[in-house]
């Protein structure tokens, strides 16, 4: 190891990272316009409100029930289709599934009153309806990732008749779990602060969402990831993946004001969903209404949603066919790691295929 070139290279990587951060701050972080070109081709079959619904067609369709992938609200969805060999979408297509993906459109200042009710009972419900009409089916398979898994769960509890199988991936379910160090800071944020954020900004701004993610691993984002890039620069494809990943890390999207309030005050601070007190449009959510098969995928090394927060879900739903599937990856590893592509997603596909029959 020669010290000067090492410091030079790392300083160069750090400078590039700082520029990326400043540019992202300047453009307001993520939006559909700043996405990289799609790896897998798709067609937008429905666009309305906050939903742009993508349709990916497999070369050979082997399963009747289409999959609707519900992505999270807070970053852009291209992490699910990052590279040809690191694409959840492509993986599912290769297994013969018809795949639809919800690309949530960023909220504008007019959307500050859009809460979970609007997202679940209007936006997501419209997307499901669009798939039902196009595919001429009564039910769809829902796969939700992170925040998207939470929306999928709420949708299934509210409209159980429309969901054939539910897969929740790294779901932030029991938010009373305080295993992550950042939880203490969330607890320290007063209700008044949450209200003030929505009063001052309308929506929770993208930079605040980004700051939240960065503060979960400050040492990593401050310098360790650049040292990692130096140490792995010779590895095939590492630098390219690093750039794509960094770009995605800066693709945060604002969170609609009312959704942010409900997320922090109701779901996180009061743990209202687990306590059976969470309401959508004035109606209580009863998770026992969920009777379809449930596969709850837990990332063992998740440092964004603690595994203990996801694990209890099966105990709360009314399904008889339900199980946890734990996999030794982190939060993002579940959708981009080589191990997830070769082992996890084939398992998820096989689980769905076993429950796909022609009575739809």
């Amino acid at each position: 190891m020669t010290t000067m070139p090492l410091l030079n290279d790392i300083a160069g990587y750090w400078f590039d990272g700082a520029m990326r951060t400043l540019e992202a701050f300047g453009r307001g972080y993520g939006s559909p316009e700043t996405d990289p070109p799609a790896v897998t081709p798709y067609e937008i079959i429905y666009k309305s409100g906050k939903v742009s619904l993508r349709h990916y067609t497999p070369s050979e369709r082997l399963h009747k029930t289409p999959i609707l992938f519900v992505y999270a609200l807070v970053k852009r969805p291209y992490i699910l289709d990052l590279q040809a060999d690191k694409s959840v979408v492509r993986n599912l297509l290769q297994q013969g599934f018809e795949v639809y993906l919800i690309d949530w459109l960023p909220p504008t200042s007019d959307d500050k009153n859009l809460g979970f009710d609007g997202y679940v009972n209007e936006e997501l419900a419209n997307a499901v309806r669009a798939v039902q009409i196009r595919e001429d089916v009564e039910q769809v398979d829902l796969i939700g990732y992170c925040f998207g898994a939470l929306l999928s769960l709420l949708y299934t509890a509210s409209h159980p008749e429309n969901v054939k199988n539910l897969v929740t991936l790294t779901i932030p379910f029991d938010l009373g779990v305080r295993e992550l160090p950042i939880s203490n800071l969330v607890d320290a944020m007063s209700d008044a602060s949450v209200d003030l954020i929505t009063k001052v900004y309308g929506n929770c701004p993208a930079w605040m969402v980004n700051a939240n993610f960065l503060s979960m691993a400050p040492v990593h984002h401050a310098f360790d990831k650049f040292v990692g890039l130096y140490r792995n620069a010779e590895r095939d494809g590492y630098a390219e993946m690093f750039d794509l990943f960094e770009r995605w890390m800066m693709s945060d999207v604002a969170l609609a004001g009312e959704t942010f309030r409900e997320l922090v005050l109701q779901l996180s601070k009061r743990n209202a969903l687990v306590k059976g007190e969470f309401k959508l449009g004035g109606k209580k959510i009863y998770l026992k209404r969920i009777t379809c098969p449930l596969l709850n995928v837990v990332a063992e090394k998740d440092d964004v949603v603690h595994p203990q927060s996801s694990m209890p879900l099966p105990d709360y739903v009314g399904s008889s066919d339900k199980r946890n599937l734990t996999f030794p990856v982190g939060h993002l590893g579940a959708v981009v790691s080589a191990g997830a592509m070769t082992k996890l997603w084939p398992q998820i596909g096989a689980w769905l295929a076993a429950r796909d029959n022609n009575d739809n």
């Binding site: 160090p181 944020m189 360790d224």
Partner: protein, 167 residues
């Protein structure tokens, strides 16, 4: 808390061992010709990794500290209140001052933008179905394959004759 403190102490002792014992030993071995560059690299990266683990553990402990949490929460609330008051004062002050010196307000700009967008959409809709059909040109003659123009009165004229006439 004591468990967490002991975790930090554990990471600290690993770092001290790697940085103050193993790294100098590897460097000395290299200088004395007993070790190689690779062993020194390995000791260097081990010390770095120990430092990162220590920094992570210290940050985690800082986050979990009640006082840090309470100070951060309070600072955030204060900053937001100041910003809220600042926004209210700005709109109250400029809301009255701006029009008096003839400048448009932000809301007027916003409504103007909305209007322009609506006009643009209207225009796009109006233009979309229009197809311009080219009217046949009234030429008063018929052009044959070999370039001869036959006029209604039966007179014939070749292209080059016309050029000559113009010259």
């Amino acid at each position: 808390m004591s468990g967490k403190q002991s975790q930090v102490m554990g990471e600290l002792s690993k770092f001290m061992q790697a940085f103050w014992v193993e790294l100098p030993a590897a460097a000395a071995n290299k200088i004395l010709g007993k070790g190689d560059e690779h062993a020194l690299d390995k000791a260097g990266w081990k010390a770095y990794d120990a430092f990162v683990s220590l920094a992570n553990e210290a940050t985690n402990q800082l986050y979990q500290d009640k006082t840090v949490g309470s100070v951060t929460g309070q600072a955030m609330e204060t900053a937001l209140r100041v910003q809220h008051i600042g926004n209210a004062l700005t709109s109250a002050f400029f809301g009255n001052l701006w029009p008096s010196i003839g400048l448009p307000t932000a809301s007027e700009f916003a409504s103007l933008r909305t209007e322009i967008a609506a006009v643009r959409a209207e225009l796009a809709d109006a233009l979309a179905p229009v197809e311009i059909e080219e009217e046949p040109v009234e030429r008063g003659y018929t052009l044959t394959d070999d370039g001869v123009r036959i006029f209604a009165d039966g007179r014939g004229l070749k292209e080059e004759d016309d050029d000559d006439a113009a010259a």
